[in-house]
């Protein structure tokens, strides 16, 4: 049945209202404070570490983001861990909260389609994430200029911006996921717990799960080296189901220009390569292309699931 009128009318109103709500909510302030503190912790640790090697490294600014000083993890590792939490905080009660406040039927009785509400909620969350991540990136860059006394090079800025896009895609996956959970669970607490459980599984346990599955599915025969290759490929494939793996691979290729491959490399492939020589930016971008598309695809798939669930839902609570 053909519907008349644009499915997107009212979407920007909803998106900006959602964004404004997030920026004034205590929940978001709390999570962002946590992110800022850990980010600065990571960067400060890195500064202490790399002051020793200033002058020998062409990518000092990128080192700022990737260097870890025990026991503090690097900025990038922190982001990989904390970004899902920010996304979950933004969206875990996006849809069921409207039912809970009994505002859903009132909003849907305005001349808008349901599509606009869900798109608006997602876009609103992405606006907040973009602004926050951009701010964080600028703060870290500023901190780097102040403490290292060097401006970042053009390539470093390009890699940094590209990393920013990857962060957005990664956070978008988790935003779509918690939006989806908020449409299937009527209780905000249930959807929050489900989202946090998935977050823990993917950020902590997924590596072990992938390993256990590999051992079970592709046993290694010591007499056949190909079984080893198969096992490693299977394990990488399984690990890449987790958006966290995709994100950390993207980050390592973008911020460590020396990274040449994200999987297995055979000795004969390294012939004529200069060990430790950095790749140009365009080659690094090509390297992470599958990872980036994977994250965007996951985001779209999960959002579609949320969309279908929401469209079929009865309005009455």
């Amino acid at each position: 049945m053909q519907r008349k009128g644009s499915a997107l009318s009212g979407m920007s109103t909803i998106a900006w209202k959602e964004a404004a709500d997030h920026f004034s909510s205590a929940r978001f302030h709390f999570v962002m404070l946590l992110v800022l503190l850990t980010a600065f912790g990571g960067v400060y640790g890195a500064i202490g570490q790399i002051k020793n090697t200033i002058g020998q490294d062409p990518f000092l600014f990128l080192r700022l983001l990737t260097t870890a000083k025990q026991p503090v993890p690097s900025f990038v590792a922190f982001l990989g861990f904390m970004l899902p939490l920010v996304s979950i905080a933004l969206a875990f009660d996006a849809v069921n909260g409207e039912y809970g406040r009994r505002t859903m039927s009132r909003i849907l009785s305005q001349p808008i389609y349901r599509d606009a509400l869900l798109f608006g909620k997602f876009v609103g969350g992405m606006i907040v994430l973009t602004i926050s991540l951009l701010t964080l990136w600028l703060l870290v860059t500023g901190l780097g200029i102040l403490t290292l006394g060097l401006p970042p090079s053009g390539e470093e800025i390009a890699r940094g911006l590209c990393f920013l896009v990857a962060c957005l895609a990664y956070a978008g996956v988790w935003l779509a996921l918690s939006l989806f959970l908020s449409t299937i669970f009527r209780q905000a607490a249930t959807s929050a717990l489900a989202a946090l459980a998935l977050w823990l599984v993917f950020s902590i346990f997924w590596g072990m799960i992938a390993h256990a599955l590999t051992v079970a599915l592709a046993p290694i025969d010591p007499t056949d080296p190909m079984t080893l290759v198969n096992a490693v490929e299977l394990q990488t494939g399984l690990a890449r189901i987790s958006p966290n793996t995709l994100f950390s691979e993207t980050a390592s290729a973008l911020l460590n220009p020396q990274t040449r491959s994200l999987g297995l490399v055979f000795i004969n492939q390294l012939e004529d390569a200069i060990p430790g020589a950095p790749l140009p930016f365009s080659q690094s971008a090509l390297l992470i292309w599958p990872q980036l598309s994977g994250m965007v695809a996951a985001m779209l798939l999960i959002f579609t699931a949320a969309y279908v669930t929401f469209q079929r839902q009865e309005v009455r609570a």
Partner: protein, 314 residues
């Protein structure tokens, strides 16, 4: 004034095996106040959601102001304001901000928006608290804010679901006065309720709902006439005689029901007060009270459902 603005034909909604609304036919004329009356779970809210296009009917058709709510929901929702049961607002926003949000969603041009919101807030007497957070509002204030939303939107049809449920008598009265004043200005009002006195005081016509069917549709006196057989109800209080037997022989008495405290209630075709008094006295009783009231909707309601249940049981 007699244009039909809401028309439903054979409207049916099933949830699995249960039928929430069953073959409903409904016509609401422009400018009238129409009441959907029935117990909880009789299909009133489902009907309303189908009229708004928020729920898809299993079968049947709806036309609101000549538009199909499923095909042209935006056109319908632009003209129709909806006040849901137990209305919710964004508690952390002020009354004005809440209205501004829905005004933006309903596409009111920015140049008119603030003026219309202010007028609507004054209209429902929330002007003084317009910039307070809705968190602090009482239930009555929330309902009035809901009405302000309809006013700001400029709705031609207002659909109100249980607008007075949970309100104290004074707030109920205020709300009903507001609703009546909207109707006088030409807004068509469709309201649902299980509070009969309220429906009686504001509605031009009523549809009596039972298990998804509109059993009776008409004005309150018409329905009372149909269900009770007589529009006259006489209350008699007497001592010292079997009042019931004494009056049941009078011509024109349709039924006699004993009441708590010894009195009886007589349903009659016409004003039989003189005959009743004479009969009680003739039977040797002391007449203590005799009064006649137009039958209230409560009576209609109770009687109607009782007879229906008896019919079902038979």
């Amino acid at each position: 004034m007699s244009d039909i603005v809401i028309e439903a034909r054979g409207l049916t909604k099933r949830y699995g095996a249960t039928t929430a609304v069953d073959g409903l036919d409904l016509d609401v004329k422009a400018g009238e106040v129409f009441g959907l009356l029935g117990p909880n779970g009789s299909g009133k809210t489902t009907t309303i959601l189908m009229l708004l296009g928020l729920t898809e009917p299993t079968s049947g058709s709806v036309s609101v102001l000549g538009h199909n709510p499923l095909r042209e929901p935006l056109l319908v929702k632009r003209e129709v304001g909806y006040l849901p049961d137990a209305i919710g607002f964004y508690d952390q926003l002020t009354a004005r901000e809440n209205l501004r949000y829905t005004a933006k969603l309903s596409g009111i041009p920015a140049t008119e928006r603030e003026k219309r919101i202010e007028e609507a807030l004054q209209r429902v007497r929330l002007g003084k608290v317009a910039d307070r957070r809705v968190k602090t509002f009482s239930r009555g204030m929330r309902q009035r804010l809901g009405l302000a939303e309809l006013v700001a939107k400029g709705s031609r049809i207002a659909i109100l679901d249980e607008p007075t449920s949970g309100l104290d008598p004074q707030s109920t009265q205020e709300l009903l006065e507001l609703i009546s004043s909207f109707a006088r200005e030409g807004m068509t009002v469709l309201l649902s309720s299980h509070l009969l006195a309220m429906v009686q005081s504001v509605c031009d016509r009523v549809a009596l709902f039972r298990e998804g069917k509109a059993g009776l549709i008409g004005t309150v006196p018409e329905i009372a006439g149909k269900v009770l057989g007589g529009v006259y109800v006489i209350d008699v209080e007497a001592e010292g005689a079997d009042t019931k037997r004494a009056v049941s022989g009078i011509e024109g008495v349709r039924g006699v029901t004993p009441r708590k405290g010894g009195g009886v209630q007589i349903d009659a075709d016409r004003d039989l007060r003189g005959e009743v008094a004479a009969a009680v006295v003739a039977a040797g009783g002391k007449l203590k009270g005799l009064s006649m009231s137009q039958s209230s909707l409560d009576d209609v309601y109770v009687r109607y459902f009782k007879t229906q249940e008896m019919a079902d049981a038979a």
